[in-house]
Symmetry: C2
Subunit: 324 residues, 2 copies
């Protein structure tokens, strides 16, 4: 039986992916067993094989690599706001463990005489880009990150591409849109409010809006995120022609359009729970982020996301609030 | 008196730069003293303060950082062919020492309460790019390296940009064209023959041409390289708008055009010393490299290179063969 590893499997996207793999499998991949690895797991986390550990401990990555998983999803990361505040922690968490884990995989590649070449899917981010931007960012636009998080993701992409080019792994980096609506609590990502202004009001709570409602951004639902990852697991990577980082499809809209979608679904009283209170630090980071893409390569490769923000709100209500 | 450090100061470009600094100074910079650091130096190497050491020894970089140089040229690197053959050595030499040296500079920044912010000029390369290419590569074209050397240079660029954005250093990465005509012996760079086919015949020696003469490439002379570095040392980096990697000007021509320039200068008998002998490994690396650029930003910032390959040949003859 094949084996799949999700690094960062206790996080929101990791859990969505684990649930999807459990319920939908991977078309054409055959039977498999999933292992999740993270610093910790919620009490209700899914997964039969959950490992608690820290990838920043180098031996941890080497030990996991030695298990020779067929497919590895590398989702482990600290978020953008934290990486910006804590420079040391950001680089130590978001870059070096990737290097050491890849070195672990390469050691297994060597030990098997080159037979072991795992598929590795790395969750990168649109934070690898930095302005000024064209109206729509194309597939050949430069990466010039303006946050440490973005620089760390871009550096990991270079490693994934070079280890793949050398044939040690068969890797891809998926530049995820901002995932919205995230369930659960706000996190330290500067993008957290994009979810908060929908999630909190739908749960009867106030939400702070720290930026102007003219801010345009690039979104996809957690369901789409899990779909991207599952799709990448079995994609023919020969189609990538050596460019192993992909801008993924998403939905471009303004905060005002997000709010109107919420109003459509839930009405004025719910929208009234959104309280504008500008936060310069958040505004500065977010306003430097991409607003819109023309992700032609990923679309041609079969990656799919929502077409309207209303669909994104509906996914949240259906998956998290259990109603349609 | 200000102090300048050249890491990789024993190499060809390092020596050209040291000579230029000695003879021409840095306009508007004032008096300075130059320190050169490298694994070793030729007997006739210029420089009053030459240090032999290995930047891969982490304490070495930290000790140099502690001297708080005003301007640092980071030229230390192993070349493309070697980085491709020896994966470990490439990454260990071309990426990690940069990280540890930058950390050393950051420690000095902290120790001075933020007062110490050195100018750091990193010699990157057009090898950060990977095909397919447009006819001319513009300033917003993606970096998708197809060699380990290119990936290492691109990763260093990300570090230089993020440390600069945070204000720990004031850095820039210069994506040098292939430097041609290199004096001295052939090296392990896959690009070495671009110089060899001019240099060896002018010295009465045979030269191997390992690629087709239709190969188009992007060149600048060693004199231009030293000029780029000197220009970057005193540039107002505020003009970079946070994009601290620059495609530099150069001259695009085919190998056939190189050979015709040599014929113009030296005649048929000299050109007859060029022996075509295809080397698939070299051809594969080089044919994946960029051929032409539109380096608008660098040109606007005052960087200058040769306009014809004949000028490049003339620079070699004037500087290395001592005649015009």
């Amino acid at each position: 039986m094949k084996r799949i590893l999700i690094l960062g499997g206790g996080g929101m996207v990791g859990q969505k992916l684990a649930k999807r793999l459990e319920t939908q499998g991977l078309p054409g991949f055959g039977d498999f067993k999933v292992t999740l690895h993270d610093l910790g797991f919620a009490d209700d986390a899914v997964g039969d094989d959950k490992r608690v550990g820290n990838l920043s401990v180098l031996a941890e990555g080497a030990a996991l690599a030695a298990e020779r998983f067929d497919v590895i999803f590398f989702l482990a990361s600290i978020v953008s706001g934290e990486a910006e505040t804590n420079f040391d922690l950001g680089w130590q968490t978001n870059l070096w463990p990737m290097w050491h884990f890849l070195e672990g995989l390469r050691a297994q590649h060597r030990a098997t005489g080159g037979a072991y070449v795992p598929r590795l899917i790395f969750t990168s981010s649109i934070a690898v880009f930095g302005g000024p931007y064209p109206d729509k960012i194309g597939d050949e636009f430069l990466t010039s990150p303006q946050t440490s998080y973005g620089a760390q993701k871009a550096a990991c992409e270079l490693l994934v591409q070079d280890f793949s080019r050398k044939g040690f792994i068969d890797g891809m980096s998926l530049r995820l849109p901002t995932i919205c609506v995230r369930p659960g609590k706000a996190n330290l990502a500067a993008s957290s409010f994009f979810s908060g202004i929908i999630r909190e009001p739908l749960n009867g709570l106030e939400a702070i809006l720290p930026v102007d409602d003219t801010v345009r951004h690039w979104h996809a639902s957690p369901r789409s995120a899990a779909g991207f990852l599952a799709h990448a697991a079995t994609l023919d990577t020969g189609q990538l022609d050596g460019r192993r980082s992909l801008n993924l499809p998403g939905l471009s809209c303004t905060v005002a359009e997000q709010i109107e979608a919420l109003r459509d679904v839930a009405g004025n009283n719910v929208v009234a729970l959104i309280k504008p209170r500008r936060d310069e630090a958040v505004a500065k980071i977010v306003e430097g982020w991409p607003r819109n893409f023309a992700p032609d390569r990923a679309t041609a490769l079969g990656f799919e996301a929502e077409k309207t923000f209303r669909e994104i709100v509906d996914v949240y209500i259906e998956e998290e609030l259990g109603r349609r």
